[in-house]
């Protein structure tokens, strides 16, 4: 021990200053993109810089972002859930049927979120319990959940929701701030704390980085994964309540294709699709970026199909730039 004591050197906790680490982060780059789009939009359209218009724009992303928070954790842990949009449809169908039967607003909310919980538990059981690959399982449950909606509804729609139910998708907490936006901010904080400040969040990162090492370190890998699927299902249920409330009706095609937009938001936010890395702050900024792009293009009367081309390009470019930049740096 004596020779070790004599050669003892102090290892610093961290390298560089806090600001230099922050400046090098993905989130700051993405924030820069968001600002650019904001400035561009405000020049391109005279209607953009209007508090109520901007408030309307948030509805483009709030519901998707709620799911994206939970999805981010799932992707960081090395799994994925492609059935989230189908869970929205099934939960919305369940709420529609219940509303038809005369159940009140609190009951509808419980049914919506409860359906999400059950669907999430089903996914979790198949992935964590039976150790099946999540991408296959959730492609299967995607067809299953939405298929049930189609069987129940056919080409019909549920539309008779109680008046008070409209608050979740159409109500405002204060001035231009909608209930959905407030919920989005609250959930961002809850998931941010869960991922970055708790033991559970650390376990999520370790599982995504090295599942073997996680298991060898005493982390209950299956239990963590099950909880993550449960959370994602619940968030899809919450999003279903908001979306159904906003639209005031349920069709089986509700939220069609949202699973890919949610995954896009997560990846754009800097979450590694291979697992192990990413932040909630990144997902929040990515949500704003996607919302601003679609809103700005909408003001310019760009059709929806062109918008999706833009979002796709945005995703590829933002992913490619840092990788190409690193390669150039390595070559020189």
């Amino acid at each position: 021990m004596s020779d070790i004591a004599s050669s003892k050197r102090v290892i610093p906790d961290r390298l560089g200053s806090k600001t230099s680490r922050l400046l090098a982060s993905w989130e700051v780059l993405l924030f820069g993109v968001a600002v650019l789009i904001f400035v561009f939009n405000s020049f391109a359209s005279p209607y953009f810089l209007n508090a109520w218009n901007l408030s309307d724009a948030t509805f483009n992303f709030t519901e998707k972002a709620m799911i994206a928070f939970a999805m981010a954790l799932l992707v960081i842990a090395g799994e994925i859930d492609l059935s989230v949009a189908a869970i929205i449809a099934l939960a919305s169908t369940a709420m529609g049927a219940a509303a038809q039967a005369g159940i009140g607003t609190p009951g509808l909310v419980a049914i919506g979120i409860g359906t999400g919980l059950v669907c999430g538990a089903f996914n979790g059981l198949l992935v964590a319990g039976l150790r099946l690959p999540s991408i296959v399982v959730t492609i299967g449950t995607m067809s299953l959940f939405r298929g049930i909606s189609y069987i129940v509804l056919g080409d019909q729609a549920y539309g008779k929701y109680p008046a008070s139910f409209a608050y979740f998708g159409q109500g405002y907490v204060a001035w231009v701030f909608s209930f959905e936006f407030a919920l989005f901010i609250l959930l961002a904080m809850v998931f941010g704390i869960l991922l970055h400040a708790t033991n559970f969040g650390r376990q999520v990162y370790v599982i995504g980085n090295n599942e073997f090492a996680a298991r060898f370190s005493g982390i209950p890998v299956e239990r963590v994964k099950f909880i993550l699927f449960l959370l994602t299902g619940v968030m899809a249920g919450v999003a279903s309540v908001c979306l159904t409330s906003r639209l005031g009706s349920t069709r089986p095609s509700i939220a069609q294709g949202w699973e890919l937009e949610v995954v896009t938001m997560v990846v754009l936010g800097g979450v590694s699709i291979l697992g192990g890395a990413g932040t909630i702050a990144g997902v929040v900024i990515a949500a704003f970026v996607m919302g601003l792009v679609t809103f700005g293009l909408g003001l310019l009367n760009v059709p929806g199909i062109v918008m999706s081309i833009f979002v796709g390009l945005l995703l590829i470019i933002t992913i490619a730039i840092p990788i190409i930049a690193r390669r150039i740096k390595e070559m020189s």
């Binding site: 290892i11 610093p12 298991r215």
Partner: protein, 514 residues
């Protein structure tokens, strides 16, 4: 040693060797990696129609030699002569073109392809239109399999074959390129006795065709049965070679182990205390049976055996990663029910795995987060992380282990192998265990770090920790252990007290030779 007499009974082979011309000769080959001289001036000769056994401990340089012969590494010094002509292997293909082929421990074949496709992959006969000539592939494969006395249908997919049959396919593949020099890298590791007999008949056939064979094995009985010549490697040097017939086994073991163990591993004298941990009749459905032993306070129990003897599997089941089929664990008088590694950690048993990167660390994550991982319950407050506590814990063990790192927040993956190992050990010490299981604690780390790890293991024992140390390196086992349990084919082949320890006794117990 019936192996020796057998050889004498049947030796119609051309009389050796001094006058015969070697097919392949390596002269003064050295291979230098950063910090390690993997091979140091090695010279060997391979003769037609003869088997040369390459013997040595893990890490002695056998695999490096195979990689040079198959064109994967290019040696820093020395030359390779084929039929007396100097040759350099610029690529794996160049080695194949020169007539060298290797059958590896884990044969590199493709499960989803047919037997014939596997055999001819990369050199398939073509039709005149340039497409693959399936008729010739299948008939060629059939002919090769018949040559090996096997009637495996060449169109069957590889995944449907047994391990022994796959070996035949690998051999057929080696023959299909008309190799003159065949390297067999522990070909019998996964085979039953009958399959080994079949394999040896094939080897005899290859000898009759005049091929030179380099046969790598740990098992002395096999070596004496099949080989004419031997080369012993130790620490990257060829320390002895000659005719097996004239060399007793003890001599070869001595060459293998070599150095005077006590000088390299100064054992810290520790007062060994009362029994702490007891394993009773531990069984696993496939890997080991009926293992019982006792561990005392401050004691280092060495666990020696060949690869595949069930040592790592035993350790992992003690740690709750795999479940035993029966048996009992007792720690400090209390019976344990360990269902997961979490249970084991809480009980005070920890396991430092052999494969650090794969099982021990989350390489992209910071040092301090890796260190604190199994101790999060202690560093956090009601489920919330406390980075300051984590850093303090990491600092304590980093300093104790003399970790070399730029900062505690850098990813573990940026550290050298030795320093990574320190992080793994620190991570487990931080849980303040009672029993620590070290699986090949110095595998793949440089000499300097090795000595530090050994010194540290000694210190831990002195502090009263009970240690189980798995190692395939005899000097390490002999130098560090208070007692040694030898495992062979899933069974405890003997427990040796320190006074009775000798390299010869351990190797005999591990290989099953009397």
């Amino acid at each position: 040693m019936n192996g020796v007499t057998k050889i004498q009974d049947r030796s119609p082979q051309p009389a050796p060797t001094t006058e015969a011309m070697p097919i392949l000769e390596m002269r003064g080959i050295s291979q230098i990696f950063p910090g390690v001289k993997a091979l140091d001036g090695v010279s060997i000769k391979l003769y037609p129609g003869q088997v040369t056994a390459l013997i040595g401990e893990n890490g002695a340089g056998k695999s490096t030699l195979v990689k040079i012969l198959t064109g994967i590494y290019r040696p820093n010094e020395g030359e390779i002569l084929i039929d007396g002509v100097p040759t350099t292997f610029t690529s794996a293909q160049a080695a194949i073109d020169a007539g060298v082929t290797a059958i590896h421990q884990e044969t590199v074949l493709f499960d989803e392809l047919s037997v014939a496709e596997n055999i001819f992959l990369g050199h398939a006969p073509r039709t005149r239109f340039g497409t693959i000539d399936w008729r010739r592939i299948n008939s060629g494969a059939k002919a090769l399999m018949l040559q090996l006395e096997s009637e495996i249908d060449p169109t069957i997919r590889l995944r449907d074959l047994s391990i022994a049959q796959r070996h035949l396919v690998a051999i057929a593949r080696a023959l299909s390129v008309e190799a003159r020099i065949v390297i067999m890298d522990e070909p019998t590791a996964a085979l039953s006795r009958k399959e080994i007999d079949d394999l040896f008949r094939i080897v005899e056939g290859l000898k009759r065709q005049g091929k030179a064979i380099l046969f790598i094995s740990h098992k002395f009985d096999e070596v004496y049965e099949i080989a004419e010549n031997f080369v012993v490697f130790r620490d990257g040097r060829a320390v002895g070679q000659g005719r097996l017939k004239q060399t007793p086994q003890d001599e070869i073991v001595r060459l293998m182990v070599g150095r005077d163990v006590k000088d390299v591993f100064p054992k810290v004298e520790v007062r060994i205390g009362a029994p702490v941990f007891r394993v009773e009749n531990y069984c696993h459905p496939t890997e080991f049976r009926d293992i019982s032993f006792e561990l005392r306070r401050g004691e280092i129990l060495g666990l020696y055996g060949l690869i595949g003897a069930g040592r790592s599997e035993l350790c992992q089941s003690l740690f709750g990663v795999t479940r035993p089929s029966s048996g009992r664990l007792v720690l400090e008088g209390k019976s344990l029910d360990i269902r997961s590694s979490g249970d084991a950690i809480r009980a005070g048993i920890v396991y430092v795995p052999e494969e650090r990167g794969r099982h021990g660390l989350a390489l992209p994550m910071p040092i301090f987060q890796n260190m604190s991982l199994p101790s999060l319950g202690k560093t956090s407050r009601s489920g919330f992380l406390k980075a300051a506590n984590e850093l303090a814990l990491a600092r304590k063990y980093a300093e104790r282990l003399d970790l070399r790192a730029a900062a505690l927040s850098v990813p573990v993956g940026t550290l050298s192998g030795g320093n990574q190992q320190k992080v793994v050990i620190g991570k487990w010490l931080a849980t303040q265990p009672k029993v620590i299981v070290l699986d090949e604690p110095t595998k793949g780390i440089d000499i300097g770090s090795k000595a530090a790890v050994h010194a540290f293991i000694g210190e831990l024992a002195a502090e009263g920790l009970s240690i189980i140390m798995v190692s395939s390196e005899l000097p390490e086992i002999l130098g560090m252990s208070d007692r040694v349990m030898v495992m062979r084919e899933g069974l405890a082949a003997g427990i040796f007290e320190r006074e009775a320890l000798s390299a010869e006794a351990l190797v005999r117990a591990a290989t099953g030779n009397q």
